[in-house]
């Protein structure tokens, strides 16, 4: 849900339900890295409700687009993390039998 003004699309607050610090802090990080963003932050109105408000203010672009790009960046980062992790686990498993053999000698 977006709360913004009809005339100015560069500033608005997005209210996400069923979310908490897990997603909000990560999205806030990727938003901050975007040079189009002037201000971004998140708040949790009440800890018992699973609801997060993310505020985005940009230097002219539509806040909705900037938030979408930030989520896309986060997805790309996750995919890269996954592939790097899988490769590291495979490398470790391949190198471990060699280590075991050298101990037995």
């Amino acid at each position: 849900m977006e709360h913004g003004s009809f005339s100015d699309h560069s500033k608005s607050t997005f209210s996400l339900s069923d979310e908490d610090h897990t997603l909000a802090n990560s999205v806030r990080f990727t938003l901050n890295q975007d040079p189009r963003v002037a201000f971004c932050g998140y708040s949790i109105p009440h800890p018992s409700d699973a609801r997060v408000n993310i505020r985005v203010q940009t230097t002219g672009d539509s806040a909705r687009e900037v938030l979408k790009d930030a989520c896309q960046d986060l997805m790309l980062m996750c995919q890269h993390v996954r592939s790097t992790f899988d490769k590291a686990v495979v490398d470790y498993k391949l190198s471990k039998p060699v280590k075991d053999m050298s101990i037995e000698k």
Binding site: E2, T22, C71, D86
Partner: protein, 372 residues
């Protein structure tokens, strides 16, 4: 005094921060009283007045990000993630603890319980037993669904302690898997109904679970066979049926797939001055985890070196006392995380981490579809 603009500083290379600011940006200084510079400078324009771009471009991230596995066994793993921000590392930790599904016992149908352990206490203990079943093969069971072979695992526990015999300890290996579903008949009103082929039970399994290809080679049961459930005296009996369903740690901690998962930042111990001879011996003795070592240099003099900074527990014993904090600096590297994951056994830890990253991707995708 003649002030030159910051961009014209001749000794600072273009696009690089001066070393003291780079230290502030990338290291937490663990001083004697409190850590400083703990905040993360995330804003892309933070150093724009110096002409340095603080934003993280994807290609830079992909080049600098590294994962190194230190230890990997069936139940736990320790690995390093280098080049990632704490907010994302924390998101992975939170997802590992609370948002990965597992199977755990939820409904307990008690036919007979004459032990001194109360019904609800027994049911609570049964719920906390880790079950060796891959949760990805099951569906969630909601209020309106009927329990069937795709969303429920049924266990049976029937123990009896004989009169005149010794006390009996009920361990988790007494929980027997029932692949055909529940065996307790439902109490129906119509007692004069003709005997049909099968009475209705609490679950409606259309086919036996061990006929499904996934379970044909491995039977489902508790992960550890020696967990004590209850103790029985002579003449006491427990007969019950336990139904396990899929859930997440968010709802109840019994559904958490990790014993725990945690991370710490890599400690960095730096000797600010040369430490020789007796001071070196003193330093090596001070550290309880042997971070320092003595190195013999020429002319019989001894010098202290940092041998194992990774083992440092930040007890700050080496900077206690007069003036030691001018000789030794303890810091933490802000983007190097030592992750440890201890699994309860349903899934191996590397699979758990993979699933956790997938969950974060799904959350992003949900937000993107909601926004478009």
């Amino acid at each position: 005094m003649h002030r030159s603009p910051a961009l014209d500083m001749p000794d600072v290379p273009k696009g690089q921060l001066p070393p003291h600011i780079e230290l502030q940006r990338t290291r937490v200084l663990c001083n004697f009283d409190a850590p400083t510079h703990t905040e993360n400078v995330q804003y892309s324009g933070a150093y724009s007045s110096m002409g340095v771009d603080n934003s993280l471009r994807m290609d830079q991230f992909c080049n600098n990000f590294r994962v190194e596995v230190i230890r990997l066994s069936e139940d736990d793993m320790e690995f390093d993630m280098i080049g990632i921000d704490p907010s994302i590392a924390n998101a992975f930790r939170r997802i590992l603890i609370a948002e990965l599904p597992t199977m755990a016992i939820e409904k307990v149908l008690i036919a007979n319980n004459t032990s001194i352990v109360q019904d609800e206490v027994l049911a609570h203990r049964l719920g906390l037993i880790p079950i060796d079943a891959d949760p990805r093969l099951f569906d969630y069971l909601s209020e309106n669904d009927t329990p069937n072979e795709k969303n429920t695992i049924v266990f049976n526990l029937h123990v009896r302690c004989e009169r005149g015999g010794p006390r009996l300890t009920v361990k988790s290996n007494e929980l027997k898997w029932l692949p055909h579903g529940s065996e307790f008949p439902l109490a129906t009103e119509n007692t004069t109904s003709s005997s049909t082929s099968k009475p209705k039970t609490y679950t409606s399994f259309s086919c036996s679970q061990d006929s499904l290809p996934e379970f044909s080679d491995k039977s489902i049961g508790p992960k550890h066979p020696d967990i004590i459930i209850a103790k029985l005296g002579p003449g006491q009996e427990i007969e019950l049926e336990a139904h396990a369903v899929k859930g997440m740690g968010k709802t109840h901690a019994k559904w958490s797939p990790v014993a725990t998962a945690w991370y710490r930042m890599l400690p960095e111990v730096v000797l600010l001055q040369e430490i020789e001879d007796e001071k070196a011996e003193e330093l090596v003795k001070k550290c309880p985890v042997n971070v320092f070592d003595i190195e013999d240099i020429a002319k019989g003099k001894k010098k202290a070196t940092v041998a194992r900074p990774r083992a440092c527990t930040l007890c700050r014993e080496c900077i206690r006392g007069d003036d030691w904090d001018k000789h030794v600096a303890i810091r933490r590297v802000k983007n190097h995380f030592i992750f440890t994951i201890e699994s309860t056994g349903a899934l191996p830890p590397e699979v758990l981490f993979n699933e956790a990253v997938k969950v974060l991707e799904d959350k992003c995708e949900r937000v993107i579809t909601e926004l478009s």
